[in-house]
């Protein structure tokens, strides 16, 4: 049991740190939930990608460094410590790409992944539908067979990044008469600018269009944009939910850097005793999350799958993120009410954490039923 990194891993970390020191923009980019910010973040992805830092854990042939899970963690620690921008491509990189690595064709990987790595194609997720929420088995939007592909119709909503993104991925019901509601779903990728697609941006709490509604009217998707077998979408989507993606949804590096900044803010405000315990909690939570992730990564690298413990992870980071930002806003006092600070942006972003990616209530059910072995019952 140890926490020291090999000289080769430390060399990788040092290389990342050096690169970031000379490349991270000196001023924060505008919010990525604005058109201007989205463009700036897209340009930043291109800059990262030019030196193969945008997707370090991917194979080299797709623009990565084949760095592995551990080096990804080290990279993320350096990335956020350097104050580098939030990642506009994260939906694609952390949700779609792992599915393509597991279930995509060679042609799909070669076509989809390199532009994703370069930030040329930004992906939006299109899982949610009105009246479905965390219950993906209740999806109603349909895919109907046509010559050489499928026609998508229906409505998706709460589609993160869709206001400015290029393409989207999600599940569509291709067999409406399948015996069970999670059967007969097909996993497809589609163009947000294709004929028949209407994108209506939705303002989140601060009014910024962080997501959108998608109205689909017979949108053509060629067969080559179906991932895996038609009708098997649920299984395909679930099979990647429990792998390392469970570790990559939120990196510990982000919280370590935020906790350090919170400590700095607290000290700059004279170290008020009234907020000391909450600052300590933020420092401890970041460390706990880092070490929990190291332990999970160690097990993963030994061949264990991550499985339902990713639900522990999700409940922890999403609630931690809010507590950390609440503490910062309280420390800022009146200034904390203003919406144009990085802390306010982080706060609004954090508020969504317990809601998306499977609500925390659903995650707690999974923890109780699958990790503690409690009986299924009334919701």
């Amino acid at each position: 049991m140890d926490l020291t990194h090999s000289p080769a891993d430390e060399a990788f970390r040092a290389e990342a740190r050096d690169w970031l020191r000379t490349h991270v923009p000196p001023e924060p980019l505008p919010s990525l939930e604005t058109e201007e910010g989205f463009a700036a973040h897209r340009a930043w992805e291109a800059e990262l990608s030019a030196d193969r830092w945008s997707v370090v854990n991917w194979p080299e042939e797709y623009g990565g460094r084949d760095a592995g899970l551990l080096r990804w963690l080290l990279f993320e620690e350096e990335y956020y410590a350097a104050g580098a921008p939030g990642r506009v491509g994260q939906n694609g990189v952390s949700l779609l790409a792992p599915t393509l690595f597991d279930h995509g064709t060679r042609e799909q990987r070669a076509r989809v992944l390199p532009p994703m790595a370069r930030g040329e194609v930004i992906w939006a997720q299109a899982w949610s539908e009105p009246e479905a929420g965390s219950d993906l088995a209740a999806l109603r939007s349909g895919a109907v067979r046509t010559d050489g592909g499928w026609l998508l119709s229906g409505q998706k909503t709460w589609s993160s990044r869709a206001a400015f993104a290029d393409r989207a991925f999600g599940l569509f019901r291709s067999e409406p008469n399948a015996p069970r509601p999670h059967q007969g779903l097909t996993y497809v990728m589609f163009d947000l600018r294709a004929p028949g697609v209407t994108v209506r941006p939705i303002g989140r709490l601060d009014g910024k269009p962080a997501f959108a509604e998608l109205f689909l009217d017979e949108v053509f998707v060629p067969d080559e944009d179906v991932i895996g077998e038609p009708g098997q979408g649920w299984r395909i989507a679930m099979s990647t939910a429990g792998n390392e993606r469970g570790l990559m949804l939120r990196s510990p590096g982000r919280f370590l850097a935020s906790a350090d900044r919170l400590l700095g803010l607290w000290e700059a405000r004279g170290g008020p005793v009234s907020e000391r315990d909450r600052v300590a909690d933020a420092l401890m939570g970041a460390r706990a999350y880092q070490l929990f992730t190291y332990a999970a990564a160690s097990r993963f690298l030994e061949g264990s799958s991550v499985g339902p413990e990713s639900s522990l992870n999700k409940v922890f980071w999403s609630e931690y993120d809010i507590a950390l930002h609440e503490t910062a806003l309280d420390l800022l006092g009146e200034e904390g009410e203003s919406t144009d600070t990085a802390w306010a942006e982080g706060y609004v972003f954090a508020l969504a954490g317990p809601i998306y990616a499977g609500t925390n209530e659903i995650q707690r059910d999974i923890i109780a039923e699958r990790l503690l072995g409690l009986p299924k019952g009334r919701r």
Binding site: A288, L291, L312, L374, P375
Partner: protein, 322 residues
């Protein structure tokens, strides 16, 4: 970087678990709380023979340490089985004695702690030593002096019946001046953190088992979402305390150890509150074994540093990024 117990470490904790499972610790605890120490001493000897106290003692004094990771792993098991006695105190005393400039006291006193023939406790001025009536090596420190106390004062009951609080008598043989108290405190906190984690894990296990078999309104209580979610929260808290405990054992940095202490103790205490609520009135009953863990979770929370003191230490430790 492999942040996981290795095979040998896991085998050690599993053998300790098996030893303790066979020991009927609830009846040992109840005897101990009445001041009847025979069964507790016998169990203590078996724990010592398994090598637990040797982990805190260097080879020069017949130990195998210092091995803080193994010690932390062992203390999780001691907590899981609610083992009574001055466990963290014996570890702190061993570390304190081994760290003295003069090797004399360590040569004289440590082998008996390693073998389990002796148990130690320690306290500063105005504070209580745990189990001064059972411990054989009573260390008192005051004004930069470490002494072998000649005895103890009246016993004060603890909320945890297994913890007997005793002031130490003044005077006694002077062992050292300016002993390394800070290091001993770090080890005591590490041991308590691990013990508390074990207490919390036992409370969770017992409560999960209970809500699966206890029925109300015709179904197991554990099928209700309100019950599930409380237990899920306890699981989250404990599973995120565990890496802090093991990480603190690796670094032994005072801020890391304080973080482990406060996080593990809060997780255990929160789990205790949940365990009591979900057991209902039976959990609020001294004769039901759950009480042995419930009250220990409360006592460990303030042993060797309150949550506030530990959080102050965390903040003074500066940036956490490695």
């Amino acid at each position: 970087m492999r942040f996981l117990l290795d095979t040998e470490q896991r085998a050690f904790t599993e053998s300790l678990d098996a030893l303790l499972r066979a020991a009927d610790t609830p009846s040992v605890v109840r005897d101990w709380g009445r001041g009847e120490h025979a069964a507790g001493r016998a169990l203590w000897s078996r724990i010592a023979r398994a090598g637990v106290f040797a982990l805190a003692v260097p080879e020069a004094y017949e130990g195998v340490g210092p091995l803080p990771v193994e010690l932390a792993a062992a203390f999780v098991e001691l907590g899981r089985h609610a083992v009574p006695g001055p466990l963290a105190e014996t570890v702190a005393a061993a570390v304190l004695l081994a760290g003295l400039d003069d090797p004399g006291p360590a040569k004289r006193l440590l082998p008996a702690l390693v073998s389990g023939e002796a148990m130690a406790t320690l306290a500063g001025p105005g504070s209580y030593a745990l189990d001064g009536d059972a411990a054989t090596t009573l260390l008192s420190y005051d004004g930069g002096e470490l002494r072998l106390a000649p005895g103890h004062g009246p016993i004060r009951p603890s909320l945890d019946p297994a913890r007997r609080l005793t002031p130490l008598a003044a005077g006694g043989e002077r062992l050292a001046t300016d002993p390394p108290l800070a290091t001993a405190l770090t080890w005591a906190r590490l041991a308590v953190a691990a013990q508390a984690l074990g207490v919390g894990l036992a409370l969770l296990d017992r409560t999960v088992a209970y809500v699966k078999q206890r029925t109300q309104f015709g179904v197991p209580v554990g099928s209700f979402q309100a019950v599930k979610h409380r237990l899920a929260d306890a699981k989250v808290a404990l599973e995120f305390a565990r890496p802090l405990v093991l990480g603190a054992a690796l670094t032994l940095a005072p801020a890391d150890v304080a973080a482990a202490k406060v996080t593990a103790c809060e997780a255990a205490y929160g789990t205790a509150r949940t365990a009591l609520q979900l057991h209902g009135a039976i959990g609020y009953t001294a004769e039901y074994d759950l009480s042995l863990w419930l009250t220990k979770a409360r006592a460990l929370r303030t042993a060797w540093g309150s949550p506030g003191e530990c959080r102050a230490e965390v903040v003074s430790g500066g940036p956490r990024r490695r």
